[in-house]
């Protein structure tokens, strides 16, 4: 079962929920099923701060970009006219190539009548694979300054096993990287805060899911017992499944600030997250 964990913006506890769900699946992992955590938040992968994986194997992620042979280029501009992303400019008898803007479509290379353009591999980030307890940990890292993390996610997803429990920690927001991350998942879990701002985010992502027709539910994070919860109201009004309410308490704050996984430290949280996982399995089978 593949579960994507999402949030409208950063800071709602998306990584907290993802990491703990993955670790809650470890007890099931004893029966030879996999427990896998995947960090697709490639601009800021934080899961490793909690999981601290060991035996890390790294591999680079490359994209193909054009290089120009200036001795062959005649300045006809067929390439730059073709490029929809404006990655090419022709200035003072030279072709300028903006690698960060290039989408690796390869069109310019085919179009150049002088065969002045060739392919070159350029590394935009790395993928790490390691192990934490019984959980296999994948993490995508986009190099700073790079624009799109999509190629990294495209390379991560095929590495995931089909059986067992796979938790995908998605990038925040609703950008292309999110679309890519949830493509093959069985269920989407949204983490929402109990604030008006949280509702705003929730409604944005909710609109997206309605269109995508993916099964989804919400966990309400940072809930205080006797306070109003606008996110909860929003869910009820729109008949969105509330999977669970995670209470906010000092203990969670302490464990988080020390980079510890709540499920591994505390029996109550272990039960809580195992319960969430159970519900997710049932929901995704519906």
């Amino acid at each position: 079962m593949k579960i994507a964990v999402l949030s409208g913006k950063g800071g709602t506890g998306k990584t907290f929920v993802s990491v703990n769900l993955a670790c809650a699946a470890e007890s099931a992992a004893q029966s030879n099923l996999n427990s896998v955590y995947v960090d697709c938040d490639v601009e800021e992968p934080n899961g490793n701060l909690f999981l601290k994986p060991t035996n890390i194997k790294k591999s680079g992620v490359n994209v193909t970009v054009p290089v120009v042979d200036n001795t062959k280029c005649t300045g006809c501009r067929k390439c730059s006219d073709f490029c929809k992303y404006n990655a090419l400019a022709y200035v003072k008898d030279r072709l300028l190539i903006f690698n960060e803007v290039c989408h690796s479509c390869g069109g310019c290379i085919i179009f150049c009548p002088q065969k002045a353009l060739k392919e070159r591999q350029r590394e935009i980030g790395v993928i790490e694979e390691g192990i934490s307890g019984k959980t296999t940990v994948f993490s995508g890292n986009l190099n700073t300054g790079e624009v799109s993390g999509v190629p990294i996610i495209k390379e991560l997803l095929p590495k995931l096993p089909d059986n067992g429990s796979v938790i995908i920690d998605c990038p925040p927001g609703s950008a292309c990287t999110v679309m890519e991350s949830i493509r093959q998942v069985d269920y989407c879990l949204l983490v929402a805060e109990p604030t008006l701002f949280g509702v705003h985010n929730l409604s944005m992502v909710y609109e997206l899911f309605k269109l995508l027709k993916k099964p989804f539910g919400v966990v309400l994070n940072k809930c205080l017992a006797d306070e109003e919860n606008p996110s909860e109201q929003f869910c009820k009004e729109n008949r969105i499944t509330i999977i669970e309410k995670i209470p906010y308490d000092k203990e969670i704050g302490r464990l988080n600030s020390q980079g510890l996984v709540a499920v591994r430290e505390n029996g109550t949280y272990k039960e809580l997250f195992e319960r969430i996982l159970d519900k997710l399995v049932k929901e995704s089978l519906q």
């Binding site: 950063g10 601009e43 404006n86 624009v147 799109s148 993390g149 609703s174 292309c176 990287t177």
Partner: protein, 124 residues
Amino acid sequence: MKIVIPAETKNKDIPVCPSFGRTPYFALYDTENGKYEFLDNTATASQGGAGIKAAQLLVDNEAKVLITYRCGENAADVLNAAKIKILKAQDGTVQENIAKYNEGKLAGLTEIHPGFHNHGGNQS
């Protein structure tokens, strides 16, 4: 010599357009004859790299000076390669900025902002 300024409409008496890559027009002022011409900015509809394309348009029209509020890194690379000077616009109309230029009162644009691309998306 030609000076360009991003302009919201084809009019020299309106304020300088705050955007560079996605400005609807560029006012092109010719110091030789004191005349204005207006270029359609073909980059406005671009999926990405609008700044690069807009800069290419200025290069192709042989501009020597750009007066603007903002300019992205990539666009600045194109403009620098073509030795087009980038000056910071001041509050006021297109024409007033030309006047300030003539008085030597415009400084170089120092903040070149990193690319602003609509994907990859950290929205926090």
